[in-house]
Structure formats: C-alpha cells, structure tokens
C-alpha cells in the first residue's frame, strides 16, 4: 500500500527493481502486488513525490510506503517538472487549493465529468438538472455576481448567461478549455484534479479566474515496463420514480364529476347529467344504464403514463489504456467509449475519446510534454425549448391509452395520441480536439523556464427538426408546403493559449528560501457560428437539404452568422519567502482584455498570503495532534465574465431579413452601451487551519469573506431611451462561508481498512449596497416585491402566507403582516403582504464518502447532501378550475379540493370560483407552495472484488490483476420535498438511477 505522508492512497505509483526487470503500478487505492526475491531493492516513484527506495527482506509480506511530496530541497537539488505550468509550488503554501479524489469520479457511472464532482469538495456546488446532455450549474463558493441578463431572455438563455458570469475557469494540463470540454473528459485519463478557491490561488490566472479554477492534470507515461489496463462496464439506466404521483382512473373520474364539465366522461356519463338533459325522455333508464356501462369500461383502463413514456436504457463504458516508456521517452495512450441512454425515446449521449500524451526528455535539463486528445460526442434529444414528451406524464388522463385512435380528452383541441408523438428531434455532434506542448527547461539549479502552447478546436453541429406532422405545424395558417421546420447550426470554437513562466529559486542557506516567478500569458478564443433555419420539410427528408427555399414572408429561409474573437494578455509576478516555519507569499498580475476600450483595458490584481506551521510531526510534544498549520490570505481580483463589447462601447450590426426597407438592410446600434462601465472587483479574505491528528486524520477548516464591488447586471431602463435595458455597475455583493474537510483512515490493517472523507460548506450571500436606491426591480410590474434589496440575500424567496382555503367560500385566504387576512379572489396581494420565506440556493452542501476494504472486497459509499434551501413546488399541473379538469391532476387532489360549503381544511380552492386576482395570487410562492429542498442522496455505491491470482491466470496468463465491480448510482434520495426532485425542483426531468457491472484487468 502506497500513500502520501497524510495517509491518502496514491494511485499510479511506479514500482520497479533496480534493474527494471520487474515492475508494476499501484491501483486506485494505492495497493500493489509484486513478486520479488529477498534482497531486491524496490524503487517507488511518481511525479511530484520523492523517489523512495525500499530493500526487501525475508518475511516482508506487507509494505506500507509513505512517499514525501517533492519540494525544492534546501540544497537545491531538483526542480519539479510539471505538466501544468501554473501549478507552481509556491502558491500552495498559503493559498486554498483542494485536491479531488479522482477515483471516486471514475467509479461513478456518469457520462458527464462535471456531474461526478458533486459532493467531492467543500465549496464546490454542482447542480444537475437531471436532463441528459444539458449543461450543469457549477459554482465555487457561491454566486459571485448576479447574472448579466435581460428580462426578455428565455430561461435557457438566462441560465447560459448566469453560467457565463459565474462558472469557474477550467484548465487541462495548463491550457484553458471550455466547460463543455471539461465535462466530456474521460475520467480514466485524469491523474489529478485541483480546485483553486481563494485569491492567492486564482491570482495567477488573472481576470479569467475570478470565479475560481478547476485544474486537471492528465495521466502520463512511466519509466518502466509497459502497462495495460482494460475495463468494461455495462449496465442499465432505470426510470426512477415520478416527480409527483398523478390521479388514477377512479379518482380522475370522480374529480371530473365534481367539475361538472359536460365534455368530460366522468360527468357526461353520470346519472346526474343524463337526468338533467334527458329527464323527460322515455328511454331515460336505458341512457343511464348505457352511461354507467361506459363509465365501467373506462374504469377498466388505468394507464400509468410514467411507466408508459419512460424507459429503461443502457449504460456502457469501455476503456483501454497503455503506458510505458524509458528514461527519455514516456507515453500514455487511451481510448474510451461511453454511452448513456436517456429516459425518453430518442434520447441518448455517446462519447468516444482518445488521448495520447508523450513526454520527451531531451536532456537532463530539457523536457517536452505533448498532450493531445480527440473527443467525439453525439447527443440526441426529443426535448425542444417548449416541449418535452415527459410533460405528457403530467397531463394525459389515466383512462386514455397510447394506441387509441380517438381524440384525447386531455387535449381540448382535438388531438390524438399519435399527434403528440414525434414533435421535435435534436441531434448534436461535437468534435473536440486538443493539442498542447509544454516545455520545461532547467537553466541552472535555481532557474527554470517553462512554456505552454496549446490549441483547442471544437466543432459543434446541431440539427433541430420539427416534423411536418407536429402539432405546431398543423394549422390552417400554415399551408401544406410550409410545414416542418429545420434548423441547422455549426459552431467552430477555437482557443489558442500561450504561457511562458520563469521560476527563480536562489540558494539562501539552510533556514530560509525564496521562490520568484514571473509569467506572460495570452489567450485568444474565437467562436464562429453559422445557422440556417427554414420551413417546408418534405416527409422523406430529415435534413437541412429539405428546406423549401421558395417560401417567403415569415417562412423565409434565414441564415445567421457570427464570429467573435476575444483575447486576453497578462503579466504576472509572484514571490514566496519561507523562513523556518513561516511562509509569506505575494502576487501581482496585470491583465488586459480586448473586450474593453483601449483606455480601460488594463486591470490589476494582487494578493498576499501568510502561512505558519505551528507543529510539525513532533510526537514528543503532542501525542495526538501531529501537525497544525495556519494559512491566511487577502487578494483583489477583477472580473469581466459574461460581458461583451456591445455593452461597453457603440457596436452596430445589420438586422435580419425581416428588417429591410426598400431593399436596404437596416443598420443600427446593437445595445445601449455604457461608457462608464467598470469591471467587477472582488476582494477575498481567506483563513484556513490544517490539523493532522494521530498522523492519519486530517481536518481542514476554512473561513472566507468575499466582497464583489461594482457588480455588473443588466437593469431595465426607461423605454424612452430607445432600449429597455442596459448593463450597469449596480452594487456590492458579499459572500461568506466556512468549509470543513475531514478525512483519513480510522482503521488500516492487513485485512480491513476504513477510510472516510467528509466535507461540508456553508455559504451565504448578501447584498450590501445598491448604488441607485435600496431596491432593484427586474421582474416587471406584475411582481410587487423587489428582485434585490439591500441587506438581503440575492436569492431570497418572497411569498404570501397562506392561511388555507376558507370553508365558507372555498377561496384561498392570505395573512397580511399585521395579522389580518384577505380573500385571494377579491384582492391583489400588495407589496407589504409578502413575507420572506427563505433562500433558493441551499447554503449547506457537501458530501460524505466511506471506503471499506475487507480482504479482497472493497466497498465505497458516497453521499451528497444539501440543506437550508427552499424552492417552489413545480405544481403547474394542479387543477385550479373546472375548465382545466380535462387534464390529469395530482393524486389526492380530489380529497383536498373544496367542493361545498363547510368543507374544512382544504388545500385547493373551489373549482368554480373565479375573480381577477386569484390566479395572480396563486402564482406567487406561498407558505403552502414552497418546501425545504433538504436532501441526502446516495450518490454512488461501488463494490469490487479482487480476483485471486489463480483465477486471473485461468482467464489469461498474461493478466497481472483483475477485479469485478458493481456500481449503483443515485439509487436513493431522502427528502421531504413534495414538488419533484429536490435538486432541480422541476416537473420535467428527474434523477436517473444507473446500475452497472464491470471488470477491470491490468496486464
């Protein structure tokens, strides 16, 4: 078993004898097995750690090796070559850098790497929408700014813009990549992943890194015998359970009867209705019997639309990798195929990726690293921005059937089930190519130069098809030749980066050290997009070639094109001075962005940090506390995340084809620019304490405070200015929180080991100041409460205090702040009637992971939890009115609906009461429509069994090791939330459990 000095197991450590005739590497739990003769000297070596030599003596069956992290020794012997140019040792001394346990991520069956980050590190929150292929929301230490958005944007766009403004920077082997490239990385290729959280850590990256950085280093070749690793996992994706249970046929028919709507079978065939209409006719009794017969036959049907529309699919992943080399040449090659099926038909995500990393040691002083990877992703989805087949689960009636040829009751506009199917199809292909070269050149023992040059080339193709038979196309206003819509898009993204760094470490005697580092970095990214949209799709052709180009007016074929390039240039300096137990760090960075006008282009950042080691492995003085270190830092960074040039200075563009006059294209100002705009300024204070107990239990406590000044947001302006919104610096936001990480071995012996790691974070944000007044309204006139208010959290939920449905008139009543109540149908809720119900983002988030080993068995359990947030129930399907009773409602709604005078304690108002205000009031959040989103989820359970040597030899004599494994992802969630899955709190899209079985061979 090989671990670092803290007891964390080290994977991928090369182990070989002096002559390099025998060798192996450690597995993910640091374990290894090697057959050597007595007296052999084994060498343990991995990058970033000092070489360890161990002589094998007789009877030495179990080895526990602790490798020490490689630092620049006081004698100045060796500088560390790293594949990530910015991963310099000096920032670690005082900054907040968290290491991620990569093996947990590999074990989790998920096609999206970002999703696997959930619950791994304190302060990193990942929110999944549970919809396959949709971007996730990732934040480090909360939301640093409000999203730059405008009111008119669709939800998808605001999410995109919010992500642009708040997501961290992703860096793979020193090269900046897009979040999408990160999400599609093959987890097996990752050697190391780090999260940079505070100003000291981020300052090296400058303006790009205001929201934190996630750094990835990929696997590299080894100096030793070639190793192969193969693993295959195959399993199935389950449907989980519906977000809300719906009425069964019995309840639905009774509900329809209560609604008294003659179009609905529950009332139409009832005795009451038949008597009302045909009361005087001679065949009345026959009609009643006939009605009863029809009702009885409907009651025979009870379709579970969730089971009908959701399906079980497959999850599979295959990975093969090879690494080897000698002292001068080292290589790592891998290939991976992963497929994850969705819950809906025609929904899937496939990924094929390949990587080749090659290290060339030209001389003792010069090493070159080449990294290249190619990833192909294919994503299919039947969900359009306005329609998902999953929405049918919460609409279709239980007495309706998939194959019936009659009109559906649940769609009051004459639709058959067949009409609803095949409404939309989207296919996206992504090709991501990455190449980078890192040169490490040691000029002398105290001076080295590194350079990293890389290119990242992404091609995204998308094809969206609304077939000619879709409901949206079947209107008389759309004549036959115009039906069907195709949208084809191509986007080529291109990132070029260059980074040159000089490190200087002069020899200054035994007790003090100085590290100086300076760098220049340049990043140029461009996006080149073309889109074609046209109408009139022939039934046989499902591609852009089917567009009918003869159509005119609003069925015209439209093309759009955009090509935006931005560049950033930065100069950075950093210094670490160490005197015995004291570390003092400082950094300075000047960054310029092409987005800003020349005179405002340069931004300056600085940070200072201090670390002090109180105890260091002195068992004499303190038997239980092995080490204690204090880290403090303060730094200032700036951010322009999400800002584009048109918001800052006058940018004109040409209008689309609908904006021409007499054949002239229209040319106009794109946005009302704001020449006074300043970048956001972040000031962060970080205080951390690292404890180590009993040499095997690590505790890290961190507190931080971040103040964002000159916060940028798009605010509405008076329309008489010719535009309705403008980007402005509007105020000050503060984030503060604490993070706890605890990890280590409780038990670790030959037969049994128990390792646990726990992390928790608490983050709270607050608006400190708004420059123009105390409140900011962004939601328009209909919403009487402010979007943001000084002294309040940025994501506070306002709502009414619901006192329930009155037994007398069946209407919702609400309580005012003074304790009086008002009728929701008669009165509009006023500003003062809104109470603060809580905050949307859960302030407490974290994970808890256990790993057990018993002989050849290993078990790992990962929990993910959120506490303290509230969300509004996704209750769009609650039936408020008799008019809406044609569709299906929540299970149990009938019993909770007010039906007659005197019905006490009901939850839903009368089906017949109207009034101008009730729907508006019901649309607001209220004490009865929000719930706590607290949850604990079993994120993943993984079991593996190491095959006995005999068994392996039987399978194939050249295999060295192998194991069987099984994984269970998202198999249980514990939550009291009643409006869907507590994480996304939406009706469409819920957690998808996955179960897989697999094998793993090393040879």
């Amino acid at each position: 078993m090989v671990s670092d000095v803290k007891g964390n197991p080290l994977a991928g450590v090369s182990i070989y004898n002096d002559e390099k005739t025998v060798g192996t590497t450690t597995d993910f739990y640091g374990g290894f097995r090697i057959k050597v003769t007595e007296g052999t000297v084994l060498i343990f070596h991995t990058m970033g750690y000092q070489k360890h030599r161990q002589k094998i003596t007789a009877g030495m069956l179990k080895l526990n090796i602790h490798l020490e992290e490689q630092r620049i020794d006081l004698d100045g012997v060796e500088l560390v070559a790293r594949s990530n140019i910015n991963d310099i040792d000096s920032r670690k001394a005082t900054g907040e850098v968290a290491q991620i346990d990569v093996k947990q991520m590999i074990n989790r069956p998920s096609i999206n790497l970002m999703e696997s980050l959930q619950g791994q590190v304190a302060g990193v929150s990942v929110q999944s929408s549970a919809e396959l292929g949709k971007p996730l929301k990732i934040r480090i230490r909360g939301t640093s700014t409000l999203s730059i958005k405008s009111k008119a944007d669709a939800k998808k766009d605001t999410e995109f813009l919010d992500n642009m403004a708040n997501q961290p920077l992703f860096v793979v082997d020193g090269q900046v990549v897009s979040p999408d490239v990160f999400a599609n990385l093959n987890p097996n290729d990752i050697k190391e992943m780090k999260v940079l959280k505070d100003a000291v850590a981020n300052a090296l990256y400058g303006i790009k890194a205001a929201n934190g950085v996630i750094e990835v280093s990929t696997q590299r070749g080894i100096d030793g015998k070639t190793q192969y690793r193969f693993n295959a996992r195959h399993g199935m994706t389950l449907i989980g359970k519906p977000n809300v249970a719906m009425m069964d046929t019995h309840e639905k028919l009774a509900f329809e009867f209560a609604s008294k709507q003659k179009e609905l079978p529950g009332y139409r065939y009832s005795e009451e209705y038949i008597r009302l209409i045909h009361g005087s006719k001679p065949d009345l009794m026959n009609r009643i019997t006939e009605g009863q017969r029809k009702l009885d036959s409907l009651k025979q049907i009870n379709t579970n639309w969730f089971k009908e529309l959701m399906r079980i699919d497959q999850y599979s992943t295959y990975n093969i990798s090879m690494r080897g080399g000698n002292e001068k040449n080292r290589y790592y090659i891998s290939g991976n195929f992963t497929h994850q099926g969705g819950k809906l038909e025609h929904q899937s995500l496939k990924r094929l990726s390949a990587r080749l990393n090659y290290d060339l040691q030209l001389s003792k002083k010069l090493t070159v690293y080449f990294n290249s990877s190619l990833t192909v992703v294919e994503n299919n989805s039947p969900n359009s921005s306005s329609f998902s087949p999953a929405s049918l689960i919460y609409r279709l009636n239980p007495y309706e059937q998939p194959n019936s040829k009659t009109y559906l009751v649940s769609f009051n506009n004459r639709r058959k089930y067949g009409d609803l199917y095949n409404q939309f199809h989207k296919k996206e292909d992504k090709y991501q190519f990455n190449f980078s070269t890192n040169v490490f050149w040691k000029i002398s023992n105290s001076l080295d130069v590194q350079s990293a040059v890389g290119i990242n080339y992404n091609i995204d193709n998308s094809l969206k098809i609304t077939p000619r038979t879709a409901v949206s196309q079947l209107k008389s206003a759309i004549s036959r030749e115009k039906r069907g819509v195709v949208e084809k898009g191509k986007n080529i993204g291109n990132n070029q980066s260059l980074n040159v760094r000089v490190n200087y470490h002069p020899f200054m005697g035994k007790s003090q050290q100085l590290f100086l580092s300076a760098n220049v970095d340049y990043l140029k990214s461009s996006g080149n997009a073309v889109r074609i949209k046209g109408h009139g799709l022939p039934s046989k052709l499902q591609s852009a070639a089917g567009i009918n180009n003869d159509l005119t007016g609003r069925f015209d074929t439209t093309t759009t094109s955009s090509n935006a390039t931005t560049a950033q240039l930065g100069f950075g300096f950093s210094a670490l001075y160490t005197l015995k137990k004291l570390d003092v760090y400082g950094s300075y960075k000047a960054d310029a962005s092409s987005m800003m006008p020349t005179e405002k282009r340069w931004n300056y950042f600085w940070s200072v940090g201090m670390g002090y080691q109180f105890l260091a492995n002195n068992p004499m003085r303190n038997p239980w506390l092995s080490s204690l270190k204090l880290r403090t830092s303060y730094g200032v960074t700036a951010s322009l995340a999400g800002v584009d040039a048109a918001l800052v200075h006058p940018v004109y563009h040409y209008g689309g084809s609908t904006e021409t006059y007499l054949g002239y294209r229209s040319f106009y100002l794109k946005q009302l620019f704001n020449k006074d705009l300043k970048p956001e300024r972040n000031a962060t204070i970080n205080v951390g304490l690292d404890f180590q107990f009993f040499k095997r239990l690590n505790l890290s406590l961190t507190a931080y405070h971040r103040r964002t000044d000159q916060m940028l947001i798009t605010v509405p302006i008076a329309p008489s200015n010719g535009f309705t919104s403008q980007l402005k610096n509007i105020g000050v936001l503060q984030n503060q929180g604490i993070e706890i990480t605890l990890g280590g071995y409780f038990i670790n012996n030959k037969d049994f080991a128990w390792h646990t790691s726990f992390n928790a974070s608490y983050n709270q944000n607050k608006i400190i100041d708004l420059y123009e007044g105390e409140e900011l309204f962004l939601s328009g006139e209909e919403i009487p409460y402010p979007t943001y208010k000084e002294g309040m959290s940025a994501d506070v939920v306002y709502g009414l205090k619901d006192v329930g449905v009155s037994a007398i008139d069946g209407m919702n009543y609400y309580e005012r702040k003074d304790g009086t109540i008002f009728n929701g149908a008669a009165e509009k809720a006023k500003r003062s009637d809104f109470h603060i119900l809580g905050t949307r983002t859960p302030p407490i988030q974290g994970g808890w992971h256990h790993h057990f080993r018993y002989r050849k068995w290993q078990l790992s359990v990962q929990l993910y939890y959120n506490f303290g947030g509230i969300k509004k129930y996704a209750n769009t399907t609650a039936i408020r009115d008799a008019d809406d009773a044609y569709r299906n409602g929540f299970k149990g709604q009938l019993a909770q609906t007010w039906l007659k005078v005197g019905d006490p304690n009901k939850k839903y108002k009368t089906l017949f009461g109207r009034g101008n205000n009730i729907y508006q009031n019901l649309g607001y959040a209220s004490t009865s429509t929000v719930g706590s989103t607290d949850f604990v989820r079993i994120n993943n359970i993984s079991v593996s069994y190491e095959m006995p040597t005999r068994m392996i030899k039987k399978i194939a004599p050249f295999f060295k090791a192998g194991n069987f494994m099984a994984q269970f992802k998202n198999i249980a969630t514990f939550s009291g939330f009643k409006g869907g899955d507590p994480e996304a709190a939406e009706l469409i899209g819920q957690v998808q459990p996955i179960i897989t079985l697999g094998v793993n061979f090393n040879f």
Binding site: Y652, L662, L669, P716, P719
Partner: protein, 452 residues
Amino acid sequence: MKNTLLYIALLLLFSCDLNIPVEDEITGDDAINDVPIANETLAGIYASFPKDKTFLDILSDDYYPNYDIRNNESLKKLYGWEILEIKLKADNLWSPYYQTINRINVLQKSYPNIEVGDGEEQEFDHIKAEALAIKAHCYFDLIRLYAPVYNDANKDRMGVILKDNIRSESLPRSSLAESYRVLEKLSLDAIASFPKDTNDAFRWNKKAVKALLADVYLYWGKYQKAIDLCNPLLVGMSLDKATYEVFWKDFKMEKEVLFAFDKDKLIFNLKDIYDGINGNYMFYPNRKITYEAADYRGEITLVKQGYRDAKGVVKQVDYLYKYRKSIDDGKPKPIPIIRTALLYFIKAEAQLKLGRQAAARATLNQLLTMRKASTYTKDITLDDVLLERQKEFVGEGHRFFDLKRNQKSVDRVGFNSHNKIKTIQASDFKWVFPLPSAEIDQNKNARQNPRW
C-alpha cells in the same frame, strides 16, 4: 537551442494583439461615416417604425365584431375597451416609437463623421430631411396616443418625452404646447431640407411632410395654417377610378398616395382582424358604412362573404377587402399613411371649424365628385365630414383619432345581433393611453396619465 527557444517565445509574444475587430459587427463612435451606411441606418429607422395599428380601428367604430370573436378572449376584451388590453397595446407601442427616435438620434449625431462623396450631396440632404420627417411622425403619433386633445384648457398638460441624446436618461414629459411646437419645427425643418420634390412615395418627401404638417395644424387648432398648406398641394389635383384602383389593386404609388410604408417582410395584413389559425375574420366593417352603386370605392373596400352565426345560419356580410386581392390573400402589402384624399378632409374640417360652411361643403363635394358619390346640397355638419372620412379611410387607422380629436363617444355592439351594448363616452380617461409601467418605474421624472 537556447536562442531558438528565445526566438519562438519572442515571436509568440509579438503576435499577442488585443485590437481585434469584430467580424460581423462594426465598432466605434464613427461607424456611420459615409452616405451608403447612412442610407442603411435610415432603412433601420423605417424598419423599426411601428406600422400595424389595426387595434385602433377595433377601438373605433370602423368594425363590428364577428361571431367568431366569441372564443378570442383578448380581442373581445380589446373591443370592449378593457383597461388591461389597452394597457398591453399601449405598452407595446411606446418602445418601438422611442427605438425609432433613438435610431434617428444616432444617425443625426453621426452627420459630422459622414464623408459625402461627389454627387452624393442631394442624397445626403434627402436622408437628413427624411430623418426629421420620421421623427416628426413619431412625435405626432405619440402625442395623439398618449396625450390629451389640444385646446386652451389642456395646453399645459403633459405631452410627450422629447428625446435627443443617446444615453440613459430620466426625462420628464414636455407640455402639450411645447410638444406641438417641437413637432412643427421638426416638420418645417424637414420641408426646408428636402432638396426637391420627389415622387418616391415609399420615402418621406416634401409634399407628404407638408400634408403631415397640415394634419398637425388641424389637431393643434391652427386651421388657417392647415388650409394654407393644403391649397397648393390640391391645385390641379384629379383623382378617379383608375388612380384608386391602381393603388389598391396593384399597389403602385401614383396620385392617390403621398407617403406609404413599403410592404414589410413581416405580415402586415390586418392580422388583428383575421384569425390565421382558423382562417376566419374576427371583424368586418361597420354595417353603416355603405357605398352607392356608382361609388367605385365600394368594390375595393368591401367584399361579400358568408359566415355561420350562433344558430348555424349562413349570413352574408361585407368584409374589408382593402390590402387584399382575394379574401384570404395573406401577402404583405404597402401601408398608406398619407393619401391625397386626406388633404380634402383636413381642409374641409378646418374650413368648417372656422365657420366657412360653403367653402367646407365645396371642398368635401370636390372629393365626393371624384369618387362618383352623391354630393351634399344642404349645409354640412362635422358629423357629415367625419362620416365621409370614415367611408374613405375605413380600416386605415384614422377613425380613432377622428373621434378623439373631435371628442365624440363611440358605441360598442354585440357580436350576434349588433345591439348596442355600451358607449365609451368622449370624456372617458382611456382615450388618453397610459405610459408603459416600465417608463413610470424606471424614469423617476415621468408621470402617468390621469386615472391609469
């Protein structure tokens, strides 16, 4: 080796440039710097001007609701002058007017940067004059929609926001009198700036702006000035069946039209009165609008078509046929703003208001004769002028303003039997539309119209 690396590093550093032009956008304060770009900027101004104001005709008595309106809640409410529907329409109209004004301001501020090439002087002068004319047109519409009728009692009440700068401001509303003064100045400047008379009726031209100003004077109560402007334009004018049909059937701009918006790519085809999903008309012209057999306007304006009423009985009614070549013709058509006939009505109304009965009747009869309609032989009243005006312009967005200007009430009828269901009084506050709440919320100096 050392040197090679150094050279590579230096080379890479020099290629780091931060002045990156944006390929499909044009950046900078001097982006509009020649006449062709000024022309494209002007196209953007014409394109953003709000053209479809069919809803004003629905609010007036140009139309009767059809039986098909029963399922269309919002049109039913709009027809009934319900506050929320008017508010919605008023909200949606305000922004495009100011968007247009902003684009004019952007163009006007660019004049010093524009390099005028040889032979482009006239074109540039025409662009300048057109920009002034469109600005005048914007303010005229805004005054008529969002401000009260002009009279001595109202002249200090709130008019419109006069906007000249390209930056975010909180401007107060100018007084009604001030708004009219600015409007007059803009029109006069435009008339003075036009290099010469042109006959391109799809662009603002000297004659059309004169007619616009005459109309402004009519609203402003300066009747003699209105008459004086109309007279020279009407000299030698002759309209007949041929000129009328050339416009309404072939949409060719000849004598009939002084200014019209060219057909938009977006459908303007009276979509508010036509239900594109079910292919039914929601409204048809007021049944009191009829034409004599000889009056050639009848066959262009109205077309008979059957519809099923509540009891399933097919009834023949006259639908609006303007802007169409067949009953379900959905092709975009030009939108006439100033027709020559308007001059006769401006003149007649002004003359009548000055008490010149005989002159007014002569002016009105002049047009009616050209339209082959019977003429008035006895004294005419204001209502006669307004009725004739409605017959000429039904469905063209005039009637609402005619009623408002003359402070007339308007009746609402049911969709089944056309019984009067209510009357919107001339004193009703809803004649003066509300400013959008976004304006009131975001502009601390803007005040809302009374009772909204």
